[in-house]
């Protein structure tokens, strides 16, 4: 169906097409800009345009597609760099140069590409929705091709070895086809059989997270912090070092130079777990702050749908977004251009429900093909003025499982990662303790509580020390202050630019163990009457 533009206001366009569906994708104007129907009235519809509307004129055509906004899912997404609407940025660069001007419709997947297919089901076998019929090798992974929705029956023909994505991979006896790729609506989570509670830790290589505030595979965490608190560096470190199969990184409304740095580094660096290049396990979905705002709103959905797609291969996927505040701001801009009633700080009242709906897409699941996969999420939040009482942080807090608060005063002292150890928490700690005790260190729980206790006591003593000076404290207290400093400087601090950027569990444990052992023996010696200065001198001479 085609119609005309009857009104334009910023990124919203009003059209006279009839018979549109809500959230249907439309093409707007002669330039064929992508838009989504956000409101339908009797004789007009409001369309949210995902691209720059400059130069769009009244009476230009609007075309409906009958489909919602979708992402294309199939082999070849890995190591791709996409924008918020899943346009492949590398190919876009080859076609239209270093600047994104007048956007063409480009398929996210290189459909002409060839793949080697290994069938696991044979001709004449009975298959139904969600069942795996075979796989192609995508980098180190087996990329499963499964039977799409609404297709079931006996296989009449199935491909062997070389396949092309634009041709069917299998044909059923009733004539229906199994394609190599398919399009899925971004706002609808991919289906799975059932969800489990997370039981396995996600090793990030960051000591303060792995030890103090463990995140679970399939869990969610948020990292709020004012500017300069190292959110992006921490995000990128986690993306580099996490013990995970696939990373989907959504650069949502952030800096272009940072993305350039990330891309260059990922192309060069190796995954510490598998030694292959990081890019091979990564999908980047980039919508920098100067790219269209409405596409920024869609970008996290685009990215998370791709993440779910790989989860369904039975893989562990980590979704990182930097930053979710920019997404919320995009939502606010769209909402205000639709003239909706604003809630707190101008954000729409559905902010909290959208966010919780989004965060619930994480989890450990049994996929339709019977495999177990997980999707974990770490979202950074940029609260204005570093004030955590603002709506985005508060809405995230209610649904996320871990809260890693990045502290401006720690950052000013160049304590990185600037995770505040008093305010942060992880709800997964208790469930993962058992796993930790079994796999890493039996006395994990004890070490953790001792460590927290020392840090807590230091805070109390610090106030006294500020008045009387450290020298005025008793030896036992001075020892505690000394140990706390060791914990802060040697254990919690981690320089992202040195080898220490990645700390495998063994190193994490040996450092904390060494510090706590020192504390224990020193404490015993103090009780036997040895002077603290002697103990410290002895340690220095070692």
């Amino acid at each position: 169906m085609t119609g005309k533009i009857t009104g334009i206001s910023g990124p919203t366009v009003i059209t006279d097409i009839k018979g549109l569906k809500l959230y249907e994708r439309v093409f707007v104007g002669n330039a064929m800009l992508t838009g989504e129907v956000v409101r339908i009235e009797k004789d007009r519809s409001v369309v949210q345009v995902y691209e720059d509307t400059q130069g769009l004129a009244i009476d230009e055509p609007v075309q409906s597609t009958g489909m919602p906004l979708t992402v294309r899912l199939g082999p070849g997404l890995l190591s791709g760099i996409f924008d918020g609407l899943q346009r492949p940025l590398q190919r876009l660069k080859e076609e239209s140069g270093p600047f994104i001007r007048g956007v063409k419709e480009l398929s996210a997947l290189d459909i002409s590409g060839k793949w080697i297919f290994h069938a696991v089901r044979k001709k004449g076998e009975q298959v139904s929705t969600g069942e795996i019929i075979g796989y192609v090798k995508e980098g180190p992974f087996e990329h499963y091709i499964s039977c799409p929705a609404d297709v079931k029956g006996k296989i009449a023909w199935i491909a062997e070895s070389e396949i092309h994505l634009d041709r069917p991979i299998g044909v059923m006896e009733d004539g229906s086809e199994i394609p190599g790729f398919y399009d899925w609506p971004v706002r609808v989570p991919l289906p799975y059989k059932r969800k489990y509670s997370p039981t396995e830790p996600l090793v990030t290589g960051q000591r303060s997270i792995d030890f103090l505030f463990t995140i679970a595979k399939g869990g969610t965490a948020i990292m709020p912090g004012g500017f300069g608190t190292g959110k992006t560096i921490l995000d990128q470190s986690i993306a580099k070092f996490a013990d995970i199969d696939i990373v989907v990184y959504a650069g949502c409304g952030e800096r272009g130079n940072e993305m350039a740095e990330l891309i260059e580094e990922f192309e060069m660096l190796a995954d510490p777990w598998t030694k292959r290049t990081l890019m091979e396990r990564t999908i980047l979905c980039v919508n920098t702050s100067n790219m269209p705002v409405a596409a920024r709103e869609a970008s996290i959905y685009t990215a998370v749908t791709m993440a779910e797609y790989y989860r369904d291969m039975g893989l562990h996927v980590l979704f990182l977004a930097d930053s979710i505040s920019r997404w919320a701001e995009a939502l606010r801009e769209i909402s205000s251009s639709l003239e909706e009633l604003p809630g707190e700080e101008g954000y729409p009242t559905y902010l909290a429900s959208r966010l919780s709906g989004f965060l619930e897409r994480a989890g450990v699941v049994e996929t339709n093909s019977g495999k177990t996969g997980s999707l974990s999420m770490i979202l950074s939040v940029s609260p204005p003025g570093g004030d955590f009482t603002e709506p985005v942080t508060q809405s995230c807090l209610r649904t996320s499982g871990a809260f890693l608060m990045l502290d401006t005063s720690l950052a000013h002292r160049r304590h990185f990662p600037a995770i505040n150890w008093f305010q942060s928490y992880s709800l997964y700690g208790a469930e993962l303790l058992e796993h930790h005790a079994e796999k890493f260190m039996p006395e994990w729980e004890h070490a953790l509580s001792t460590c927290k206790e020392i840090l807590q006591k230091e805070e109390e003593l610090r106030e006294v020390a500020e008045i009387v000076g450290v020298e005025g404290l008793q030896d036992a207290d001075r020892l505690l202050m000394h140990t706390a400093e060791m914990i802060r400087m040697k254990f919690l601090c981690q320089n992202a630019y040195t080898d220490d950027a990645f700390s495998p569990p063994a190193r994490t444990l040996s450092i904390i163990k060494e510090i706590l052992d020192f504390y224990k023996t020193a404490d015993e010696k103090l009780k036997q009457g040895v002077q603290l200065d002697e103990i410290l001198n002895e340690k220095k001479n070692k």
Partner: protein, 453 residues
């Protein structure tokens, strides 16, 4: 495309900079419109919203003297573009790209939409090339690199313009694998050029900058919007400046340093216009889209993989009430790659440039220093200086409570270090210091003290 200009006399209402025009045929969003006033002036305007045949127009000039009957508007069927040519080098323009220096307009080589196009993130090159500003506290501790955007956060009454002038006079690029060998300064090479955008400047400030630019004898392009000139031009001038910068950088392969002062005036103009449009206000009355709007300027800094040329940006932000959490510095800090913060306390002590090292930061510094960029020991010296100074600053609070006599020897040393650091390293009255001099000064300072931790 329309074959001829559309002219309408069907204005139905005027409010501040906004005009409603009725019965308009096929208007374009963002289309340039000329408004002809009853006294035959011609004003620039732009299409903001379209509802059927009613069009909302925003005028980029003072709208006094307009009326409904005799004012007419002409639709030009094109979006706003900047004329570009090498000939604009050495020229001064106003916020509407009209010559301000008495010479005639140049002949444009090409026209480019002033909003620019977003750079494809996969085409960006990571900024790594060191720019020597000649200011120790920037070069040594908050290094600027090519393609970076590093704002100066100032407070009312602080010498931000002197700091900017020092950078303008002394900035030079140091290239080559060997580090500090080949170099060219703003004064010498034709490939390094300054694009200067002054927004809402007083005459006094303008004449100061004018002298600096005249002394530089190097390539520059200036856009000047004075404090008493139209507010709308404050929104245009930086976009013209950046279009020019992108053209010189990516079409002509030059290294461009863009200085915009003062972004606070820009944001206030944005708020004023947003209020006139009756948009929902966000924090402190600034529009909710201010982050995206600021990003559309700041993000135009950068480099392209496999291409010559770069756009580096040094905007000046005056923090209202000295408050770094105010929306303007806050949103700026979220977009830019670090910040140089000026401090009232240091200024009172007579230290110039009064840069407060602790909240200042250059995010891209790590890649631009060390072997092959500056000197091998740069990172080490800068970390130690920062650490001891931070400690010394911390101890000053303790000193205020217990007095210097009640402190340990080491703490006293630390306090002395902080004082000397401010007086010898940050303080830099006359002239530039090369990066080697800066690092040597820092090293000497560290040697004088036996500091334990």
């Amino acid at each position: 495309m329309r074959l001829f200009d559309h002219k309408y006399g069907t204005i139905t209402s005027i409010a501040g900079p906004l005009l409603f025009v009725h019965d308009v045929m096929s208007a374009r969003i963002g289309e340039v419109v000329k408004v002809q006033t009853p006294d035959n002036r011609q004003l620039d305007a732009e299409v903001l919203e379209i509802h059927g045949d009613t069009v909302l127009i925003e005028v980029f000039a003072e709208t006094h003297g307009l009326d409904i009957k005799r004012t007419s508007v002409v639709f030009t069927d094109s979006v706003k573009r900047a004329p570009l040519s090498r000939d604009m080098i050495g020229r001064v323009f106003n916020g509407s790209f009209q010559p301000k220096d008495g010479f005639p307009m140049f002949l444009p080589e090409k026209w480019s939409p002033i909003a620019g196009f977003p750079m494809n993130p996969s085409a960006r090159a990571r900024p790594v090339d060191f720019i020597e500003t000649g200011v120790s506290v920037i070069d040594g501790l908050n290094t600027l690199v090519k393609g970076q955007k590093l704002p100066v956060f100032s407070c009312a009454g602080l010498p931000s313009k002197e700091v900017v002038a020092a950078v303008l006079k002394n900035a030079r690029l140091i290239g080559g694998k060997e580090g500090a060998r080949e170099e060219y300064t703003t004064g010498h090479a034709s490939d390094f050029i300054v694009v200067f955008a002054a927004l809402g400047l007083t005459f006094y400030e303008y004449s100061f900058y004018k002298r600096v630019i005249d002394d530089m004898q190097s390539g520059f392009v200036a856009f000047v919007n004075m404090a008493d000139e139209p507010v709308m031009e404050r929104l245009l001038a930086p976009r013209f400046a950046l279009s020019v910068a992108e053209y010189l950088a990516f079409d002509k392969g030059m290294d461009v340093l863009v200085i915009i002062t003062d972004m606070t005036n820009y944001c206030d103009a944005l708020r004023e216009v947003s209020t006139a449009r009756e948009e929902l206000p966000g924090r402190r009355g600034y529009p909710g889209y201010m982050y995206s709007d600021l990003a559309s300027l700041y993000e135009r800094a950068g480099r392209i993989r496999g291409q010559q040329g770069s756009v580096t940006m040094l905007p000046v932000v005056t923090m209202p009430e000295d408050d770094i959490t105010h929306p303007i510095p806050d949103l700026t800090g979220y977009i830019t790659e670090g910040q140089i913060v000026l401090s009232r306390e240091l200024h009172q002590k007579g230290i110039f440039p009064p840069v407060d090292v602790l909240p200042s930061l250059s995010r891209l510094m790590q890649r631009g220093i060390g072997k092959g960029h500056t000197r091998e020991d740069h990172r080490h010296i800068s970390n130690l200086l920062y650490k001891y100074y931070a400690k010394g600053r911390d101890l000053r609070r303790l000193e205020a409570i217990v007095g210097r006599d009640g402190m340990t020897e080491n703490d006293k040393e630390m306090l002395n270090f902080a004082d000397l650091f401010e007086r010898e390293f940050i303080q830099q009255r006359a002239g530039r210091r090369s990066i080697i001099e800066t690092l040597d000064t820092g090293f000497e300072l560290l040697k004088q003290f036996k500091l334990e931790k």
